[in-house]
Symmetry: C2
Subunit: 396 residues, 2 copies
């Protein structure tokens, strides 16, 4: 594997020139978000899955400007905590457009959400159902099926969901508890490359829809979760391909009479809208005999790039000189903190231009999702990653 | 391996009672710091290594109250960034009591530190030396040797330091560049259990001291780094044992005429002063056949417990009912966020009281170091870990 795509496969030359100009004289690192790209990705999703209701996964990037843009576009929102609920309500978003998608909830937080008007909740356990029945009576509940997430770059563990057999019983319990068993959800894993994973999960849903109908419970919704990819160092299939296949799976199982379909995109909506501008702090060798460099950036694992853990997500990294430079040097890339764990890529050796020098800027692409909000509050005294949200990289 | 120690091996019953009372009615999670314990650990270090100059590793816990206490006790400070330098200067700490211990530094940050009065710097590369010679002329510089950190619970990678052969040449370069080659440093790995690791490193220092003396460079200092342990779930040797052995190694190599000795304790000074009070958000099973529980706390990897990565650091976890409860259940422990990576312990199964229920408080001990400052700024909208610093758990 290698960085197979060129800088211009990600952004236009004019956009890159504007970003370079914008960066001049600013202390790095910072994240730059292109709202226009978010809007394009949203429109693409709507166009390709016209029957689906979009719930933006706020956790992927909680920038106010992104939330406001998607609000104006008519999006709904998947929220993880009461803090996100309160933030959205303060921005004027109706609770009817939110889904409390975290299956792990304190009873007092369910009460808070219900009081604020939330009526749609995810669940995967009996104890959560009991709490919902006490604090959010009559609410719609959807049930998360545990699913295998092989094929995903950022695979999901067994943290969320329960086995279908258990879900079946939970749904019957929910009805008895005065809740509205509304639908099923699953998540095939973030940055999922194997579209077939949706096929298996949708087939599971069909099975449960039927089994429960026999018990007098009519489920109405399937929440397909997220998992649509962003483009990191390798090309991915486009959203059109994903949408076509998923639509085919749905129609095979449910015919023309589809249940209500919800999707919860995060990464695929905002990932490629973001570019982290960083600076090379140091280039060194550890021994005279080493034929690779250690290159230290001023942003690392604790400044927003936590998804480099186990080198899962490989961000496209460019200096902008790649087209003119002839020689490249294999490099271990590390962050700026005194933490020895703060290494971005050691097994996978990026090839950086040989003439790269300290003080040069580097551009880390596709960093719009799961970066800024993960950033540590003050590790090594370093402030959280600064974010600039702009309308359009072409008119920066 | 198991939780072999009891709650009362860590804190006194009166302290625990006070902590429980203090926690009543407060929204969890929060970190509670016992300044008295920090003071005890500091006094112990001074007593056991009377010849050593202590430089507190500010990054381990940058709470103002801890810094002020150690300042009053006469400690020096190991700082990682200009942000830490500025913080300490604002607290009235003299730059003469600081060492800029990060080998990864921007040239403008070296200039900033020098302007503020810092005259002691760590280094491990030629390019950093060049920057130091330009921006911090005449400063004392110490050189970090790359060392093997096997035996450490939180091992160091090769991120810091260079091979001794390279260090030898860097020291000669430093002199030529008008800097003062002052000493050597190493770090055997954090939470290092194998005291013999110091022996190897000190022997390396002796070798370099001699070799450089032949070139007319008289090194004056050895920085032993940190690495002294805190007590997590397993008992550790006490500081007295570490100190005795290290003193023996030093005397074997340097005789009675020891060089200036610096140590940079972080974890061993503040680790066991901290207790995170958390709440059980949910207890569930994923399938009817599972004989273990999933237990979700309201604090996780992104709320300060990042050192649970790869289950490296195993914090002592107590509910306070362990002495009276008869049955315990194997549990996977996870955090509250929607991130599937946010699992604390899955391979290592803690045994939690069978009657543990949602809403119960849990006490995560030895969490004074490398927790609060790592906490994410707003992942899932969750605010950073709240910290209360108190004088004395016995008089809470």
């Amino acid at each position: 594997m290698d960085q197979t795509l060129k800088l211009t496969d990600y952004i236009k030359p004019i956009e890159f020139e504007n970003i370079k100009k914008f960066s001049e004289g600013k202390r790095t690192p910072f994240l730059l978000i292109n709202l226009k790209r978010v809007e394009q990705r949203y429109d693409e999703l709507i166009r390709n899955l016209p029957f689906a209701k979009i719930f933006y996964a706020v956790k992927s990037n909680p920038s106010t400007e992104i939330i406001q843009l998607l609000h104006e576009k008519g999006s709904n929102f998947d929220v993880a905590t009461i803090y996100e609920i309160d933030k959205l309500i303060n921005l004027g978003i109706s609770p009817e457009r939110m889904s409390f998608g975290n299956t792990i909830k304190k009873e007092e937080d369910i009460a808070h959400a219900y009081k604020k008007g939330i009526r749609l909740f995810a669940t995967d356990s009996l104890s959560d159902l009991m709490k919902l029945s006490r604090q959010a009576p009559g609410s719609k509940v959807f049930f998360r099926i545990l699913c295998n997430s092989s094929g995903a770059d950022w695979p999901l563990s067994k943290k969320f969901g329960a086995h279908p057999d258990m879900i079946y019983h939970l749904i019957l319990d929910a009805k008895a508890l005065g809740l509205v068993p509304y639908g099923l959800s699953f998540h095939v894993g973030s940055q999922q490359r194997d579209i077939g994973q949706w096929d298996d999960a949708i087939a599971q849903c069909k099975y449960l829809f039927h089994a429960l109908k026999e018990q007098g419970v009519e489920l109405k919704m399937i929440n397909l979760g997220g998992g649509f990819p962003s483009t990191y160092i390798q090309p991915t299939k486009d959203i059109n391909t994903y949408a076509k296949e998923i639509t085919r799976f749905l129609k095979e199982d449910f015919g023309e009479n589809l249940p209500e379909i919800i999707i919860e995109p995060g990464r695929s909506l905002v990932g490629d809208s973001g570019i982290i501008v960083s600076e090379v702090v140091m280039i060194s060798k550890k021994a005279f005999s080493n034929d690779f460099n250690w290159v230290y950036f001023d942003v690392g694992k604790f400044g927003g790039l936590i998804e480099t853990l186990d080198e899962c997500i490989k961000y496209p990294i460019f200096t902008g000189t790649e087209e003119t430079v002839k020689e490249f040097t294999e490099s271990v890339i590390a962050g700026p903190t005194c933490d020895s764990m703060d290494i971005l890529y050691e097994k996978f050796r990026y090839k950086l231009p040989e003439n790269l020098k300290e003080g040069d800027k580097v551009f880390i692409l596709t960093t719009g999702a799961y970066t800024s909000s993960y950033s540590s509050v003050e590790f090594n005294g370093i402030p959280p990653l600064k974010v600039y949200v702009v309308e359009d990289f072409e008119k920066l």
